[in-house]
């Protein structure tokens, strides 16, 4: 699988992660399936419902239902989610894997001392409980 994302949107995710530092940011990737992969068309930043712990994020079902209906009206759907790992590598934690859904792309951006340093995307193995890296294709804007 490949996740294609315009450079501008990836920058936006980096900035979102930097501004949320030292807490985590989270949001949905809106787009459409494209052949073997997925393409991100726009971002949908979400409210992090976990306020008790800066190292956790939660997008609640009511928020997702609303967002899903909104995107459908635009002919889009949720193709994945992004979140930041403050001062941790951009690899899924055990907690990420345990709560992941199949098919979606999980894009993680590492924020080191307040600066975004790397980003990577993963998908859940259909058999659980593993996440595989997927190729992240950054589309440079012309």
């Amino acid at each position: 699988m490949t996740l294609r994302i315009p450079e501008g949107l990836l920058d936006e995710i980096r900035r979102h992660g930097e501004s949320a530092y030292p807490a985590e940011c989270c949001g949905a990737l809106a787009g459409r399936g494209a052949g073997e992969g997925k393409e991100v068309v726009r971002l949908a930043p979400a409210v992090n419902r976990r306020t008790d712990d800066p190292h956790r994020y939660l997008i609640g079902p009511d928020d997702l239902r609303r967002l899903d209906a909104e995107l459908r009206a635009e002919g889009l759907e949720i193709v994945g989610y992004y979140h930041s790992h403050p001062d941790h590598p951009a690899v899924p934690s055990g907690y990420d894997t345990a709560h992941a859904w199949p098919w979606y792309s999980y894009l993680i951006v590492r924020i080191e001392q307040g600066r975004a340093v790397e980003a990577a995307s993963y998908t859940l193995d259909d058999e659980r409980p593993l996440m595989h890296p997927e190729s992240l294709e950054v589309l440079s804007e012309v």
Binding site: E24, C26, A28, A46, R50, T51, D52, D53, P54, H55, R56, Y57, L58, I59, G60, P61, D62, L64, R65, E77, I78, Y81, H83, S84, H85, P86, D87, H88, P92, S93, G94, Y95, D96, A98, H99, A100, W101, P102, W103, Y104, Y106, D126, E127, R128
Partner: protein
Amino acid sequence: MSVTVTIPTPLRSFTGGADAVELAGRTVGEVIEGLLATHGGLKRHLVQEDGRLRNFVNLYLNDTDIRHLRSTETPVSEGDVLTIVPSIAGGSPGSGGPALDTELPRLSHAEVLRYSRHLLLPEVGVEGQRKLKAARVLTIGAGGLGSPLSLYLAAAGVGTIGIVDFDVVDLTNLQRQIVHGTSTLGRPKLESARDRLTDLNPNLKVETHETRLSSENALDIIREYDIVVDGTDNFPTRYLVNDACVLLGKPNVYGSIFRFEGQASVFHAKEGPCYRCLYSEPPPPGLVPSCAEGGVLGVLPGIIGSIQALETIKLILGAGDTLIGRLVLFDALRLKFRELRLRKDPDCPLCGEHPTVRELIDYEAFCGIGAEPAYQGPEVLVEQLREELDEKGPEELVLIDVREPHEWEIARIEGARLIPLGQLPDRLAELDGHAEIVTYCHKGSRSMKALEILRGAGYGRVRSLAGGIDAWAARVEPGMARY
């Protein structure tokens, strides 16, 4: 019943690409069972090994989350739409609660044996027992409610129990405070409780906080725990515990008792009302007597405290329907439980839509304590009264006992007349306006109220016995029973 189950995009590869599946069943649970039977690949994504739904899987029947209905027991009707909605969760490995199974502490062989009756319950099981072991519960008070609830939490295998108390064990406690004993009389309640609880379960870690909970220390103490259980007996602390729990987002398992009646609820502002939604203002000071003034049946805190322990354990396990949004009222004499539905107050100053209380306040002042000085009339010391009674006849010096008849049965001062405080305004005609009057009660506060009534009615030569019959028994008549 034929129900349409809509399948979210991430799961469509397990339904052959279909975005909806028609299934039959009488309840949500049966429909889901049918779905898993026909599309087995969904199983590992939707349910845990024990068959329960994963915590990030949400089901909506038409437009309502089934958790707000009867969960998987919710009946379905022809044409209903059941929608699977994801919750999306994650986070860096930094911290977080022990939400992930592999992060929970493991059980030793001895613990497996000790908790075997729990492990046999599918609702608890090994995972639930490990959650109990990981849990940190704070109980406010090691008294009537704190005793049974801390004993049951310790026995159930809660890993860490914090206790806030600053009192010592007193003989009047032992009629109901079963965590203490005759052998621990005079010792701090914290030490007494810790010894008993760790004897019951040596795996338990007890954290003691020997202090009065206050606006200065409450947030720092409560922050360290997952759940707070309120076993206090006074309004300022009850509001303080509530407010601190709302500000920190912690559930507050509430219980209170008086005479033969008790109540219990779970206040968790994230999911339901808080104590202020139920009682926005405290009662006027002195209106509601404490158990020390009004008495309490010893077994009553056993029942209410056990309900609090039960709710705490359910919150930890995530099992069953908790008392969030419900107030249970228990009447011991009639053996009746009643239930009131509680609603979150949108105007609640603490957890409403526009909160005005954003930090802890002065709760003594909020509850009106110390605001209006109580009536202060002339008093007489017990030794002085002894002498005066010897010198003067009963016509000259009238001694009025303003306690209740059942207290009169326990002990009385010879020569006194019983006129309970509540009857005094109607029985003034029985009193000779020319005689000197001394009023007394148990410890001196009701007799001061009696003085206020007598003074208001024009009686000039009235005094109250300082320290009441309790001081009399201690200093004048040592053979007299105290209570």
